[in-house]
Symmetry: C2
Subunit: 116 residues, 2 copies
């Protein structure tokens, strides 16, 4: 079956500022217990994903387009662009800022701790 | 931690023709038992992902760039482009063709049947 991504506009993603367009690839139900979010995210200029913790799960980001600043679990800030993967361990925190004048596009996948 | 995607060149992906660049976001080990592949794939012109079955798992595709032809489990063929999501059920088969002169770029996520 072929269908379109499911677009949702979010103001202040994870407590951040500005606006994000979240394009869901599959629903949480379709992740069959493995995760709770799989989406392409377009973070608008001067917007951010607020710094937030992932208890019992993790969330790698893959940057597709634009420029951003990744805030890691230790508070360190790293400039990121296309092809960069931002990894955190289960239980850790992260954030992402788009302080540029262009869209920052990335893939987000939230999946759970190890299958027991 | 920020790192680069891990690039692997594959000839004849899943028994298909031509060449694909597979950019791994995380390793199978990092998927912690939930899946076995999470990657951005660049399918070169006149190349294909061979028609193949997913036993005990599924694999949605998200088309990012270019034009392709999705072959579904029932053999039907659908033209796809950016923003299209190609879904199959657990146990079903699929394939993807790039019969154009430009790269076809998509996200591939292979994850397992329902967590019991």
């Amino acid at each position: 079956m072929v269908r379109k991504e499911k677009a949702v506009i979010v103001d202040g993603l994870a407590g951040g500022k500005g606006q994000a367009e979240v394009y869901h690839v599959v629903s949480e139900e379709e992740m069959m217990g493995h995760g709770r979010l799989y989406a392409r995210v377009v973070l608008k200029p001067n917007s951010s994903v607020g710094y937030h913790q992932h208890v019992g799960e993790t969330e790698p980001y893959l940057i597709l387009k634009g420029k951003g600043t990744f805030i890691d679990n230790d508070g360190s800030r790293t400039e990121v662009g296309p092809g960069d993967v931002c990894i955190i361990d289960v239980g850790h925190s992260h954030g992402l800022e788009n302080n540029s004048d262009e869209d920052l596009e990335f893939m987000a996948l939230v999946y759970m701790d190890e299958v027991k």
